[in-house]
Symmetry: C2
Subunit: 728 residues, 2 copies
């Protein structure tokens, strides 16, 4: 069965089988092992140390023994079927090995070696050949240029970097429920360290390397089905298949497994077509964040936040809401908590009356029963003040969560049992709570070995990573829960659009269209457009203006002149027939003066509209996410402020409203400042119609920009448009 | 010598002597000690454990022995002079003790007990009495309601919270060079923990409590003179004396000791007078940050950043610039570094040609010699690749600093000597470097005991707190160095203004002035104002308009009607005499309809100006920082965007330009969009003149707002103004 035979859904399902063989193999051949190779030693040691339960074979044609184990001359000489080949060979020898593996029926290969796609033209060619062989044998390939993976609960650790070896690292690996998909080997190592000090562990960590045919979304897909995985963490440099990613993200959302993603390479501005305004808007406005937000993927700005957020979800699960109370030992801590809660969007409602009454009874005279609760220094001498406060507050229906101030032990202390005794009432109160009780310290501190032992013995939950990172993690988790509640049914595949019928286009789908073609296309598809006539002569222009009314606008029309204003090809505010007649000549001459060879269709005549709110609505093709909508306020707002928001298509009316209301100038939609209140429903629907039209145009469209859309209350009208096709 | 006799500079100098006795006493009396009191036990144990070298006396009238030491009946019964009384008594007994101390010549008192200013009306009265006694005896008082202080290098630790005691904490305290001034006892504890895990230590940590007469700035002043202190960290809830703070900050700047401050209580919006626009602008725009920026105080958003930034400065000192290179083991790390560098403003120039040539020789074929430098996995097998890269890059004149990727040891590893051997070439390369070599890990990790020992043995500098926090700390330190270079001479005391001569005011300095009084005052002080006439009758209005030109504006004039537009008291665009005559009646009637009892001065007549750029310039009284300037773009910019910047007075032309160019709409100053390019020098000078006028008006001024100032190129003119005095 070759790749050609198992395309689409079949290949996806075949991929899953092969990924199971890859990540949880019953039998493995390590090919190209050598005692002289550090990586080889590492992989072999890691395999043994983490308790691989399957059968392993070493292959080296020139040695009988490698790493103290018998080695075989070739893959073919292994008598039993092999689930996974772990390849330590490189270059053309790798291609031979893949052929050999294919002939032996091995469908899962992990390739450590580099020198492929990441390494110039020659490397690219080699990777193309690798892909060919893989397709021929219908193999999945992790890598090339990967450091391997760790499936810790299954005891399958095939990983080329040292773990618990004296020279390089001090890393222990404990199994857990966080799955990581990582596009940089070294970050896999950071994740291991990060989990260790947050009292959580990995289910599966996969470094995807060059992603020959296993991409980020394939591994996400696998993790969605993996019972050991509860939370998915990503370190992303680039997403190669946004549709695949979208599908995987949706499956994760449905399965209730949050994805937490950190994107690197934010400072590198991707090269974009700069013909349309929208191109620049999209480039600046972080399409990745917008896409992640749309797909319910939690975006984090740093590795610290990646680790703290994954650890929060692993330790505490998904919150039911964001209404939080705090019990703390000091006013200073309460203040910082309140600041940070406000920053990240945690609500801190007041205590109910009965809670206030009950707290007042147990607080010292100097204390006040308000949220966040400062129990005053008294908590240092009365070990029951915190547990009793926990008992009282967790019964208050105003709250989804109670935070309790507690810092981790910085290092070991002599008398552990006394400490555990002190915290026993805490553990009892927390165990009896109907809502999560979350421990939070002032600083982001690591779980030391002593702290880990203490947590186990005291049955306390782990601290969440300090007020700065921990509260952000909670808020992100709560936001994910809300998104899931509201959006589970809304993530449509773009295929849903195909059922709509769109008018055929008036022009050929290539190059840049003249304005009248674009306007025609919009109007034919039900989008409100200013009335216009294409006039071929002065007299035709006058007739058009007489029909459409004064004052009038005259613009030269040419597909080769998308920026006609800049060359004097537009004249506004024409009061009468004579003005229009002159203007026709002016705009045509201006275009000719700009470029004598230009092909001119004539001039567009339109009525001049009164000043109102103007928007830019553009759809451009993002290199990663495909067609992407940008909306912004027109004129000075866009030119001076770059005030715009973006999201990949498809888009709903609700989303468009969210984008609009997220603009800095959003208060203008409520009216005032000389413009009437905007009919937001109608505006959003118009923008959705434009976006759907672009989506329906599909792969052939480069960009569709409506700039401006004029909005005066519920009078909404496209005044200009620019359509560019990919086929130039 | 009473407080009255030592006011002003004398009292400041006396304070310093008394603070030396307070923070480095040769003899101490702990009064109110008791075996039943946890805090008392703590203070006594901390004093002994940290090696107090002076003489200590315990005082308890009812016991012969306390904490296993002989105790005395009273302070007066101590035969020798006492430098500092540490008071564990509270309420009225404290006042008696302070009297007794005063009579015994004790001028330095630390008061642990609460129940003073923080505790209702009764507490406030008690604190007033305390202040009276202190003034009478010219005593400095740390607290009341403080947890005490730790002067670690001097062995003077008088601190009421447990250190290295089994039940509550595991804190060791090592001496260092960071001085902390903290307005919340519990945060002193966070600082101790935070320093311990960053391999730095405190010089002096002071919790200032209620600040009876020792405030934040007093302790800063002390730290500036303290030879053990190199860096000053602040945790601020409120600043009570902004002039004192300004002076102390300037001394710290002059002394080359950076101040790093975290402000809590950011979410609590201070109550403000809302009569003027500017009030709201100032409230929203974080005057504290602006004031800190102006004074060269580094602002940090979290306790994590406070600790990491102080630790950076303690470990690495002040950078000479912000041009940075990186040596890393992976591309992923380089990407995150580049992202974060761009975010926090670290420059990453390219390597010089000779550096590229030298690096290319040592890098593997797959590597590229560009900054940030990815040495590829080869660094894991070639232990000299990093040291050789360090040697090469640190000689490149393009850089002020070299970052080198290194993560801290998560926990101990068996063979320390092998590890140290591996890193010896690093230490050698770093020691030979002409620029600082700064180690940075992926995550913010803590220095474990093992790591601390390793650092000592390997002579490597400590890791700085991860890419997220560590690079922000470096950038803040570099920013501080730049500020110091450029601003050392610019911090003027407001007293400098007094030498300017300001015209006397045309009105009485009370209540709200009618517009014409405000305009008069501005004009008399050299600020360009639109021509205007106050007309008492229709005919006078017409005469004025005829003189000033058409189109004209007519506004009703009344001190009781600051918002005349809102009630129809302003008519614009009057074309001729008849229009002006009608308008006079319209605006006067409108004011009367609004409030029949209103006192009307007549109507202001002005020429109507063409549309141009409009600015709001306002000075309001901030409760902490006093008179504070806000500048913003007028109209929709302020109303919709709240686009404004603030800074406390006094202000220089350079600062005003920085505020203006920091506005979101700053691109409008370059011209375009229908307005000419702005003469920034002239505009800044006009704003400085307005600010200086407000400053010269001094304590009696509540707010002075010029809204709008019209700016058309170099034609700058105040069109309206509102002056409000504190005396209503």
């Amino acid at each position: 069965m070759s790749l050609e035979q198992v395309d689409g859904a079949d290949w996806r399902s075949a991929k899953k089988d092969r990924m199971r063989a890859l990540f949880a193999p019953r039998s493995v051949a390590l090919v190209g092992v050598s005692d002289n190779n550090d990586m080889s030693r590492c992989v072999h040691a890691n395999m043994l140390r983490h308790g691989f339960q399957g059968r392993s074979y070493l292959v080296n044609p020139n040695r009988d023994t490698v790493h103290g184990q018998r080695s075989l001359k070739s893959l073919s000489s292994i008598a039993e079927p092999i689930d996974m080949v772990f390849a330590l060979v490189s270059g053309s020898r790798l291609l031979d090995l893949m052929e050999e593996a294919g002939e032996c029926g091995v469908r899962s290969v992990c390739v450590l070696g580099g020198g492929f796609g990441e390494n110039g033209l020659q490397g690219e060619e080699r990777q193309r050949l690798l892909n060919q062989v893989a397709a021929k044998h219908s193999q999945v390939v992790l890598g090339p240029n990967t450091i391997g993976y760790l499936n810790v609960p299954a005891g399958c650790v095939f990983y080329g970097s040292p773990l618990r070896a004296p020279i390089y690292t001090d890393l222990a690996v404990v199994p857990g429920d966080i799955g990581f998909v990582i596009q940089s080997g070294i970050i896999a190592h950071a994740a291991l360290r990060g989990m260790l000090v947050r009292n959580v562990g990995p289910s599966l960590i996969v470094a995807t390397g060059n992603e020959a045919n296993l991409e980020v979304h394939d591994v996400i897909d696998y993790l969605v089905d993996d019972e050991a995985t509860k939370v998915i963490g990503l370190f992303i440099e680039t997403i190669r298949d946004h549709e695949g990613f979208r599908r995987a993200a949706q499956r994760a959302l449905e399965a209730g497994k949050p994805i937490v993603a950190m994107k690197a390479g934010r400072s590198a501005v991707a090269a974009k077509t700069a013909i349309s305004h929208t191109g620049a808007l999209v480039g600046d406005a972080h399409v990745y964040s917008a896409a992640f937000e749309k797909l319910g993927v939690i975006s984090v700005p740093s590795l610290d936040d990646l680790m703290v957020t994954c650890a929060y979800l692993s330790n505490y699960g998904v919150p039911s809401g964001r209404r939080a109370a705090l019990v703390a030992v000091s006013g200073g801590f309460c203040e910082i908590f309140a600041d940070r809660a406000a920053e990240v969007g945690i609500e801190t409602p007041e205590f109910s009356r009965s809670t206030i009454a009950a707290l007042t009874k147990i607080l010292p005279d100097t204390g006040t029963a308000s949220n966040p609760l400062d129990t005053t220094g008294a908590a240092q001498t009365d070990p029951n003040l915190f547990p009793r406060s926990i008992d009282i507050i967790t019964k208050d229906p105003n709250f989804d969560v109670l935070f309790v101030q507690r810092s981790v032990w910085t290092s070991s202390i002599p008398d552990v049992s006394a400490v555990i005794g002190t915290y026993r009432p805490w553990a009892t109160a927390i165990a009896a709570s109907p809502i999560p009780v979350v421990l939070v310290g002032d600083l982001m501190a690591q779980v030391s070995d002593f702290e880990a032992d203490f947590l186990k013995a005291s049955q306390l939950p782990p601290e969440i990573g300090g007020l700065q990172h921990g509260l952000a993690a909670f808020a992100a988790a709560a936001g994910w829960a809300e998104f899931r509640r509201h959006n589970l049914q809304r993530i449509e595949a773009p295929a849903a659009l195909e059922s709509k019928h769109y008018q055929p286009l008036s022009g050929e789908r290539r190059g840049t269209w003249a304005e009248h073609c674009s306007l025609d296309w919009l109007a034919a598809n039900g989008i409100p457009v200013v009335p216009w006539r294409l006039a071929k002569s002065r007299e035709a222009a006058v007739a058009a203006a007489n029909e459409l009314g004064y004052p009038a606008v005259v613009k030269v029309s040419s597909a080769q002149l998308p920026h006609k204003s800049a060359v004097g090809g537009v004249v506004l505010g024409l009061a009468d027939a004579e003005d229009v007649r002159d203007a026709f000549d002016v705009v045509v001459d201006a275009a000719r003066r700009h470029d004598a060879a230009i092909e001119i269709d004539g001039a567009l005549v339109m009525p001049m509209r009164e000043r109102a709110l103007e928007l830019i609505v553009g759809i451009v093709r993002d290199p990663t996410w495909g067609l992407t909508l940008a909306v912004g306020l027109g004129g000075v707002w866009t030119e001076v402020l770059n005030d715009s928001n973006v999201t990949p298509l498809p888009v709903s009316g609700e989303e468009v409203k969210r984008l609009l209301l997220g603009l800095r100038g959003a208060r203008l939609f409520s009216g005032g400042h000389g413009v009437p209140k905007v009919d937001m429903e109608k505006l959003a629907q118009t923008i959705v119609d434009v976006a759907d039209l672009a989506a329906a145009a599909g792969d052939s469209l480069e960009s569709l920009e409506v700039n401006p859309i004029r909005v005066a209350g519920n009078a909404i009208e496209a005044l200009d448009s620019l359509v560019i096709w990919r086929d130039r």
